[in-house]
Structure formats: C-alpha cells, structure tokens
C-alpha cells in the first residue's frame, strides 16, 4: 500500500535439496526414445506405450496457447528438461524402507507426522516416482484402493482403463498431451459403493532435482454413494533454472458420490505449474475443488466439473496469492450437461508487489436444459501500486429456464481500516495481515483445519514483512 517493497511469504520451508542419486534417468530432452524408456522401465503393457507415443505426436503438433495465455510460456525449454528421474518404481509401504535422504526430506516437510495425526493414507512422490505409499489398514479393508498410477494401471486395469484419459482426453491442451506422453507417479484411488472415507487421503509432491519436469497423473473414482477427500501439497527447492510441473488429474464421481480435492500449491518461484484438472459428476454427485496457489513462477490451472447427471453439483473455491515475479493464472470451468445441475465458483486473489493474479472462467449451459444454476464471484485485492489483476470469464447460456450470475470486484485495503486498527494499537503490518486474513477468511475456513491454520500463519508471516 504505502510501501512498494516486496512482501514475500516464507517459502523457505521447502527450499532445500539433497544430492541426486537416481538409478533411472531418461536424460535431457523429449523424443520417442524418452517415452519408450519411461514405458520400458515402468514395465507397462503395450496399450499404455502406444497411448504415450500417440500423445507425444499430439504434443508436438499443438501450438503453445499464447494466443490467449501468458507469453512467459515461451521461456520453457523443453529440450533442457529431464522427464524421468527415479530411485525405483515401487513405492515402500513403511517409512523405514525409504532411503534415508528422501525420508529426511519428507520429515522436514512434516509428512510422516501428519500421517500419524489425521490422514487415512499417504503417498509421497519424490521426482518421478512415489517413494512411499501407505493406506491405513481399516480403510484398505473397506476395499478402498490407493496406489500409484502405474500400480493402478497394471493391477486394476478393469477399473483404470475404463476412465483413464476419458475425463481429460490427450488432446485437451498442449500440456495434457505432454503429461499423457511422459506421465509418472500420481495416485489411483477407487472408493467402492457406499464407502465413506472418514479421514483425508494425502499425496505430497516433491521435486528435488534441477532441470526437471514432474508429470504426475491422478485418477480418482468414487463409486455410487461413496465419499472421499484427497489433499495434495507440493514444494520444490528454488533453482536458478526453470522447473516444469504438468499434472493431469481426473475425477469421476458416480451417482450420489462426493469428492473433495484440496490443493495447497507452494512450488518455488522457478516452477512452471501447468496443470489440467477436471471431474465428471454423475447424477446427484458432488465435486468440490479447493485450490490454493501460493507458489510457482507461472501457474495455469482451471479445475473443472462436467455436470453430467441430473442434480449434480460442482464447486470451485480458489485462493491465489501472487508476489513479485509470479503470475497466478487460475480459475474454473463448469460444463452443465444435465437438468437441474448447479455450480458455484468463488475465487479470491491477492496481488502483492509486482505480482499478477488472473481469473479465467468458463460456464457453459447448452440447449434444452432446465433448472441449471451457476453463481460466480471473483474478488481481487491489490496491495501495491505495481500489482496487477485480471478477470476473464466466459459464460454461454442457451435457452430460458436457467440462471447464471457472475460478479467480480477489485479493491485495495482501505486506508481507513488500517488507520482505525493502528489507532487501536496494532502495527501497520499487523493491521494489513488482519485485513488480508479477513478478505480470504471465509474461504480459508473451507480448508481442512490443519491447512487453514497453516494458511493463516503464512499470511501473517507475509504481512509482517510488508511495511516497516
């Protein structure tokens, strides 16, 4: 506000790395050989190898989406990236078996501790492959499957193949094609009919190596009437060179199922985070994306829900924080494809210093549908005079009988509010952080308790440094 100096949050938690000792390395650059190498070391069936090779063609054919997206994408040097780095392909079931340095990494990030405290299952991915994957026995006994994507496709082909690549086809965009060609890691989850997984399942994605690309692939299927919450976190050390993270996440909520997918993205500021996330919600199913983007250099992510069955509901709750050198280009897509489907999008962004936050949204209600409702709210807060925010929604409604509303506002922290709080004895920094917390508070409360405390703390810390 008064101060133009950079306000930055504490990203140091994830900013450390250990020397690399990879047994499997696909080398630099991307070619048919890279793809064949990945497929071979993973011991995949032919149909997956062919799927990957077809995807590579699509990736190479598709232009960069710079006609509408940031030109910063052109800074990605695909030939200087390593596409597969792993210690081995099989995740360990206990932390004792995980190599010492990798274990230390996750201990520093607090993963084993959280697992003991409140999680139903954890998968920890280190560069290309999961090093640890475990599910609480009681949950596994209910028939819940929680494994890596490779294990999923090899051991459960009858479920995996039915949905894999169906929610997000290879050719959806350039980066979904890239992921389809070189994907590795990520989770495969299947929740049987009627099973309600009480505690969240968590995946933690860690990039350790420089010049690396992480391409995890997650597929979650919640069968009829089941419920599941999945949380993902991610960090990487800050390298001088660009790192690429390009995931594909597909969710399928069968009749009456509920899926909540929570992301707290805190990549270091050299990461290009280009992620495609989409869900299909069948009759009376509910899918809720809770998405918080704090880190990365450029994030492009628009979680979507295809509302395929009657009375399905989709929701996206999004918080983005863009500091110096960051562009958070986030949003949501809601495709209504059945009667009486409802969707809700709430997005709040904060731009600090020279940071840029963009909202991009798509709401589509095709012909001959009745009783569809969408509500979209986007609020942006600008902290410094060089901060930037954009809003680009696109709404198509065909036919009466549906109601869609979109609202967006941009504001700054009111000087009067800050003055009032300072009068009451708060420092300017405390007052700012209170204001910012107030701005996002209603959304932060939707995160699981452990995350919401953490988010509040991050914002507090950030604002402490903002004025002096």
């Amino acid at each position: 506000m008064n101060d133009t100096s950079t306000i930055d949050i504490d990203r140091s938690v994830g900013d450390f790395s250990y020397p690399e000792q990879h047994e499997f390395d696909a080398g630099y650059g991307l070619s048919r050989k890279t793809v064949e190498y990945i497929s071979q070391v993973k011991g995949e069936p032919d149909w997956i190898r062919d799927f990957r090779l077809r995807a590579l063609d699509v990736f190479e054919r598709k232009p960069m989406p710079t006609s509408w997206a940031s030109r910063d994408l052109n800074a990605i040097e695909f030939e200087k990236i390593r596409y597969y780095l792993a210690h081995g392909q099989k995740a360990k079931r206990s932390w004792e078996e995980v190599p010492e340095d990798v274990k230390r990494t996750f201990e520093r990030l607090g993963i084993p501790e959280q697992e003991r405290k409140f999680l139903a299952g954890v998968e920890a991915q280190f560069d290309s492959e999961a090093v640890y994957s475990n599910i609480k026995k009681a949950v596994g006994d209910q028939g819940v499957i929680f494994v890596g994507s490779t294990e999923g496709l090899i051991k459960h082909p009858e479920i995996f193949r039915k949905w894999f690549g169906k929610v997000i086809p290879t050719g959806d965009n350039k980066f979904s094609a890239l992921n389809s060609a070189v994907f590795s890691g990520g989770s495969f989850i299947y929740v049987p009919p009627g099973v309600k997984v009480k505690h969240p399942l968590q995946a933690y994605f860690r990039i350790n190596a420089e010049n690396f690309g992480q391409f995890e692939r997650t597929l979650i299927i919640a069968d009829e009437g089941s419920e599941v919450m999945y949380m993902e976190g991610c960090t990487a050390p800050k390298f001088e060179t660009a790192t690429l993270h390009s995931a594909v996440v597909e969710l399928v909520a069968m009749k009456g199922a509920k899926i909540q997918y929570v992301t707290v993205q805190n990549w270091s500021a050299n990461v290009f985070n280009l992620v495609t996330k989409r869900a299909v919600a069948h009759e009376e199913a509910e899918v809720k994306w809770i998405d918080c983007n704090i880190g990365s250099r450029l994030t492009m992510k628009y979680p979507g829900v295809v509302l395929k069955g009657r009375k399905a509901r989709g929701e996206v709750i999004s918080i983005a924080l863009a500091g110096d050198g960051q562009h958070q280009d986030t949003g949501a897509k809601m495709i209504h494809a059945a009667d009486e489907t409802t969707s809700n999008i709430v997005s709040k962004s904060i731009s600090v210093g020279e940071g840029r936050a963009s909202y991009r949204g798509l709401v589509h209600v095709p012909k001959h549908l009745k009783g569809c409702r969408n509500n979209t709210e986007c609020d942006a807060l600008l902290i410094n005079s060089k901060s930037r925010t954009d809003t680009y929604p696109a709404i198509t409604v065909r036919g009466s009988g549906n109601a869609v509303q979109h609202e967006a506002s941009v504001s700054q922290i009111s000087a009067e509010q800050i003055f009032y709080m300072q009068q009451r004895g708060l420092t300017e920094g405390q007052a700012m952080s209170l204001s910012v917390n107030g701005f996002v508070n209603d959304l932060v409360r939707q995160f699981p308790m452990e995350y919401s405390v953490e988010l509040k703390r991050l914002i507090d810390m950030e604002m402490e440094g903002s004025v002096g």
């Binding site: 005079s385 929604p393 409604v397």
Partner: protein, 440 residues
C-alpha cells in the same frame, strides 16, 4: 473475402477504393486503406477477439461490396419524409445509399458550429477533419472492417462544436440503405466546455432489406465537453452490419453513448471509451432486442489512462427464438490511473428455450487504488413477477411485454433525457408489437 465493388458511373467499377470525388488526402487515405483491407486476414476461429461469433457467412457473396445506385427523386423525397426522430431538432441530415438527400440546421453556423456532410467538411476544414478522422484504431478485432470503411468513405456527418457553445436541441442523422453496401461515418469534435447531443438512425428502406453496412463513429471531447450520442440500428432483417465506435475524453469531459439494436441479420459492434484526462466520465449503454435468427456481437473496451476517471457500462439484451448475442467487454486500468471507478454490467433475458447469450466481461487492472467491478447475469422472466401480473388479470402476452419493457427501460432512462427516452421506447416496443401482431 476479396470482394468486388460494382457501382454506377461516379464510383468504382472494379474492386478497389471508392473513387467518388474527394480531396486528395482522402483519396490517398482510401487507397491505402483498401490495400490494408485486402492484406488483413479474415477473422478466424482461433482469434480471441472473435470468440463466440459465428464466422461462417460473415460476408456472404450477395453482400459483396456493391454500392447501391443513387435513389430516384421520388423515393429520395419519400425517405426524407420517413426520417422522423424527435419533434424538435437543431439540425438534420438524411442520406440514402450513402448520398445526401436533405439537410437542415445551417443556421448553427452562426454559433460557430460546423454541421456538414463529411466530404464537404473535409474540403472546407481540411486540417480540422484530418486531425481527428479515424484517430482511434479499431483495437477490438475489426481492423479489417475499419479499413474497408475508410476505403469507401464518402457519406456521413462532421459535427464541430466550438468552445463553450451549448446546443440544446439534438441533431439527427438518418442513414437509409436501399440496396448494396453503405459506409456511414460520424465524427463529433466537442471543444472545451461545449455540449451537444447527436442521434444517428440507421434503417433499410425495406424492413426485410439486405446488404452490408459498415459504419464508424468517433467522438472527440476536449476538457469539460459533454456529448450524448445515440445510435438506433434498424437495418433490414437481411443486412450484415459492422459498427466501430470510440469516444476519447479529455480532463473533466463527459460522454454518454447509447446503442439500440433492433434490426439487421448480424451486427458486430465495437465500442471503445478512452479516459485520457483526470475527472473524465463515460457512460456506455446498450439495448438489444434480438429475435428470429438475429446475432448481435458486441465488444467493448473501457481504458482508464488518467487518474480519477470513471466509466459505467450497462448492456441489456432480450433474446427470443433462436437469437444469439455476444458480449465481450474489458475494463483496462493503466499503470498509474489511480482512483479509477469503473463498472461494467451485462444482463441477458432469455425468452425462449433456443436463444443463446454469451458473456465475457473482463478486467485488467494495473493500479491499486481503484474500484472496479463487473457483473453478468443471464436468466428468464421471473416466475413470481409473471404470476403477480397474471393474478391481476393481465393477459400473459401483455405481462411478458410489461416485464421486458421494465427490464430494458432502465437503460433508456440512464440517458436522463426524458424527451429522447420516450421516443426510443416507442421504437423498441414497436418491434415487440410487430412480433406480437404476427405470431405468439
């Protein structure tokens, strides 16, 4: 889209710029614009600026650039009689197939006001016209069509209001299209502290007339000037229209522009407001009544370049049958344009199960001390409102009409000119009544 221009004697006989008599600088601008038109690509599916728009048949062969023939004396006189706007005007000009048919308001010259057909103004006041003609580039996707317009420039009005002069009664221009293509131009230059209102009416001789209309209107406002501009688009039901408008506002200037879209087969309209001086304010208003297979495609840009400026946009569409509308607007706040107050709202009322409304309201903000917001809603007639009217014994058709009237009237009233609002209401509602008379 390399189209052919065929016209009788005075004008072009082959594809190329208009060759009707004009000062040299206009002739060379036309030629250059024609080359530009020819070299620019057609809008493509991947162009963000043409997202949602139906591109096929944007310019179908029968709408090639045949300028229509001069009208007979009788039909010209008939059109002048039919050119009715408000009762009392300060001046009026009537064009048919891009040729001047009648004009009044010469006495305005005593106030120093210049109110002339564009080419005549270009001859009499070359420096003045040249320094303001087409100075705001068509930045919203229609650069090709702006070039086409300039290459065929010959009809239209030039209005210059000197410092401190306030013209109370509105001025009016009527453009009639009988056949072929027309390229109406409106240029308003309002000097410091002046005030003026201009109404542009666009009509086809025949309600089902066809052809191409490609018009431009630019408003240039000096400090403290105030300009109200209304355009009423009632082209024939088979006309393809392009309209590219801009307002450039200096310190403390105020502009209000209202578009009313009733006619045409397809209409692409682009409007830019540039707030270049502190304290400037621009109101951008639009009412569209789309039915049948009509498509209205509106693109807007509110650029805040100076501090303490405000803009307020309200566009309302009522859609029936299989009509389509597109609204894509952007509020852009440039770095340093603090204390900006900008608003943008589009509301769509769907009256049928087949109509389609697309909305893409956008914001790009690069200053922090601002108040910017936008909203977009799409819905149907409120069931409770309808029930209330029905329970009062009002027939369903009448009830619908009342609700839609109420919905649109809000925009017309924003002009704060009851005299104009009443006249515009009549025209808007005439479209509903004509439709009700024929069907429903």
């Amino acid at each position: 889209m390399s189209a052919t221009i065929l016209e009788e004697k005075a004008c072009c006989t082959s594809a190329g710029p208009c060759s009707s008599e004009a000062p040299d600088w206009i002739a060379s601008a036309r030629a250059e614009a024609w080359r530009l038109y020819d070299s620019l690509p057609n809008p493509a599916r991947t162009d963000e600026a043409w997202r949602f728009a139906t591109l096929s048949g944007l310019l179908s062969p029968q709408e090639c650039l045949h300028a229509g023939p001069a009208l007979s004396k009788e039909s010209g006189e008939e059109l002048v009689r039919r050119s009715r706007g408000v009762e009392r005007v300060a001046g009026r000009m009537v064009f048919g197939n891009d040729r001047l048919l009648a004009r009044s308001g010469q006495e305005l010259a005593r106030l120093g006001v210049i109110w002339l057909p564009l080419l005549e103004a270009a001859r009499q006041h070359p420096d003045l016209v040249q320094s303001h003609l087409l100075k705001t580039p068509a930045a919203l996707g229609s650069a090709k069509f702006a070039a086409l317009h300039l290459s065929q420039l010959k009809a239209g009005t030039f209005l210059y209001v000197p410092r401190g002069v306030e013209v109370d009664l509105p001025l009016e221009t009527h453009h009639w299209l009988e056949s072929g293509a027309c390229f109406p131009h409106t240029l308003v230059v309002a000097e410091e502290g002046s005030r003026v209102t201009l109404m542009d009416y666009f009509q086809s001789v025949d309600r089902n007339g066809k052809g191409l209309a490609c018009g431009v209107n630019d408003l240039v406002l000096a400090p403290g000037a105030s300009v109200t501009h209304v355009s009423v688009q009632e082209w024939g039901r088979n006309v393809t229209g392009f309209h590219i408008g801009s307002a450039a506002l200096s310190r403390g200037a105020r502009s209000a522009s209202l578009q009313v879209h009733l006619g045409g087969r397809r209409m692409r309209s682009e409007s830019i407001s540039r707030l270049c001086g502190e304290g400037a304010r621009s109101d951008m208003l639009s009412v569209s009544v789309a039915d049948g297979t009509q498509e209205y495609d509106q693109r807007t840009l509110q650029v805040h370049e100076a501090r303490n400026t405000s803009s307020d946009l309200l566009y309302k569409n009522s859609l029936d049958d299989t009509a389509r509308t597109v609204f894509a607007g952007l509020i852009r706040v440039e770095p340093g344009a603090h204390q900006t107050d900008a608003y943008q709202k589009v509301r769509n009322l769907l009256l049928s199960g087949e109509a389609e409304a697309n909305s893409a309201p956008g914001l790009e903000i690069e200053a922090d001390d601002v108040r910017c917001s936008h909203g977009a809603t799409t819905g149907e007639v409120d069931a409770a409102e309808l029930f209330y009217l029905l329970s009062r014994g009002i027939p369903r058709q009448e009830a619908y009409k009342l609700i839609v009237h109420g919905f649109l009237e809000e925009v017309l009233e924003r002009l704060a000119r009851p005299d104009l609002t009443a006249r515009l209401s009549e025209r808007v509602y005439a479209k509903f009544d004509a439709k009700a008379g024929s069907a429903r």
